[in-house]
């Protein structure tokens, strides 16, 4: 159990961003606090906020300098005093926010056939574990989405059981196919589009997890709970949403 009371840290990221952070751990409770803070600040709809980006133990706020200054002067704040007030107000409002989100678990089909799981052999050799056990270990866990990044819709999830923790390839592949499910250290993730990449690929989902033409854009949000379930090659092809 990590105690996070009074552990908030606020710092500037250059001249146009502010970072709220908690201790640097991959921890669901910490990630949750940052999501609640994200929710709390974004609901206030400050005109100077251009982006709010949660990732693991940080929430980064990108601001427009000119709009921010108009706001600070009008309300008699400095950037520091405003940020501190946000945290103080958040801590007070907190209890009413705690139960706001009922977490649903998003179920994601994955075909772990070695046609797609091109690094299963790799992990089998290095981690001295059977392919069946790698697969079972991967889909038994429920993962938290800690952030989206790298590519539009790319999902960083964690954390995988230590039996299947494996570092990235030292030399990234030139092309990883869209839908590929991979492992990097204790993280697992899905490639939304074809891209170069260094994660250890263990399977592929037939679902399209990012579509720039839909209003939702990404299938996942930071904070979502995700569980994978195994499907056969036949099932993969019958669901396949990727452009061939």
């Amino acid at each position: 159990m990590v105690s996070i009371k009074n552990k908030w840290n606020i710092r500037c990221l250059g001249d146009h961003a502010l970072v709220f952070s908690l201790p640097a751990l991959i921890n669901e409770k910490i990630a949750n606090q940052l999501l609640l803070l994200n929710h709390f600040i974004s609901n206030k709809r400050f005109s100077f906020i251009k982006d709010l980006i949660p990732a693991y133990h940080t929430l980064t706020l990108i601001y427009d300098i000119e709009t921010l200054f108009t706001f600070l002067q009008k309300n008699n704040f400095t950037l520091q005093s405003w940020a501190e007030k946000m945290i103080a107000d958040f801590e007070v409002a907190h209890p009413s926010y705690l139960h706001l989100e009922t977490k649903k678990i998003i179920q994601i089909p994955v075909c772990y056939d070695t046609i797609f799981g091109i690094d299963l052999e790799n992990i089998k050799t290095n981690n001295k574990i059977s392919i069946e056990e790698i697969i079972k270990t991967h889909f038994e866990n429920i993962y938290t989405v800690y952030c989206l990044g790298f590519l539009p819709g790319f999902t960083y999830m964690g954390i995988v059981n230590e039996k299947i923790i494996h570092p990235r390839h030292s030399q990234p592949r030139a092309k990883v196919i869209a839908g590929s499910v991979g492992i990097a250290g204790a993280q697992t993730g899905i490639y939304p589009t074809n891209s170069p990449g260094g994660w250890q690929i263990i399977g592929r989902t037939p679902l399209q997890i990012f579509d720039r033409h839909t209003s939702k854009l990404a299938l996942f949000n930071t904070g979502d709970q995700v569980q994978f379930y195994p499907i056969s090659l036949e099932e993969f092809h019958s669901i396949n949403q990727h452009e061939m």
């Binding site: 300098i65 000119e66 539009p152 960083y156 854009l217």
Partner: protein, 307 residues
């Protein structure tokens, strides 16, 4: 009513002030890497300062005008020629149907902008015309949406004192040889003392690998007291990352939203256009600035654009 890409350049695109509000989904901001030259081009044409513009690198695209347009070129001087006659930068120019605009050589600067009077008609997605890796293609055509007002007055030979002054100030800012200013970041204190000295006093150059995503730098190799990979968090334009090899990279407009390399600091917003105009063989140095100063400099430069 359109402009056609006659010859395709190496990496030219349409950019505006970028796409904000979607970085939490991993969607990059994009936008002009020299926002000052882009604003200047739009201001000289009395466009909205955030209108999309053509961002041009060398070897540059050439353009055929299929209808009369008024254009203005700012930023780098790639020696623009209209039907083989050289034309000035920072000046509204009348283009007629059939005219061909070429850029001959990279005389000065790294990034040129061409604004067109009106709005370039191109795909808009999530409130921006900017995209990652969408280069201008040969034969691609862009129509121009015109406002109703008569724009012939733009072509008067004399610039107003305001525009004259603005052009002068922007150019003086972009071309000065003062250090590039950085605000120290979370990994600053992880550097070895000697590396801090080298970062503050050494000479750096932009590597030939530079692109809109990031500018890798050539210069002294820097070392951390102990190398630790920080948990990934948001990065932003101007983030100065230390790679495991000890080399530096400055993140530019097409940067990824999240980064896991050591973050040594942030180049201040107003100095990114200066970096975007530095040629690869031009050495530069860094100096430190604090957030309050950076804000004041940014606000002062914004004032230049206001009547």
């Amino acid at each position: 009513m359109s402009i056609q890409i006659h010859k395709q350049g190496l990496s030219d695109s349409i950019q505006d002030s970028g796409r904000y509000g979607y970085q939490h989904m991993g969607i990059q901001v994009n936008g002009c890497i020299d926002y000052l030259s882009a604003r200047l081009a739009n201001t000289l044409l009395q466009n909205d300062i955030e209108n999309p513009v053509f961002e041009i690198h060398f070897p540059a695209s050439s353009f055929t005008f299929l209808s009369a347009q008024i254009i203005c070129i700012t930023g780098a001087n790639f020696v623009p020629v209209l039907n083989e006659q050289s034309i000035p930068l920072f000046t509204p120019i009348q283009m007629n149907a059939g005219d061909c605009l070429q850029f001959l050589q990279p005389l000065d600067g790294r990034t040129a902008y061409m604004a067109v009077k009106g709005v370039i008609n191109c795909e808009e997605w999530l409130d921006s015309y900017s995209f990652t890796n969408r280069r201008l293609q040969k034969n691609e055509e862009f129509s121009i949406m015109k406002e109703s007002a008569d724009s012939s007055s733009l072509l008067n030979n004399t610039k107003t004192a305001f525009l004259e002054n603005l052009t002068h100030k922007v150019q003086a800012h972009l071309q000065n040889h003062l250090p590039i200013r950085i605000i120290p970041g979370p990994a600053w204190n992880t550097l070895e003392a000697n590396s801090i000295q080298q970062l503050l006093h050494g000479h750096f150059e932009i590597s030939s690998q530079a692109n809109r995503m990031g500018f890798p730098l050539k210069g002294p190799v820097l070392f951390q007291q102990k190398s630790e990979e920080p948990l990934s968090s948001a990065v932003t334009r101007g983030t100065l990352q230390l790679l495991p090899s000890g080399e530096l990279i400055v993140l530019m407009a097409d940067h990824q939203t999240i980064g896991g390399y050591a973050n040594l600091g942030q180049i201040i917003l107003v100095d990114l256009p200066r970096l975007a105009q530095l040629k690869k063989e031009s050495p530069f140095t860094f100096s430190l600035v604090n957030v309050e100063e950076a804000h004041q400099i940014y606000l002062k430069i914004n004032e230049w654009f206001k009547h």
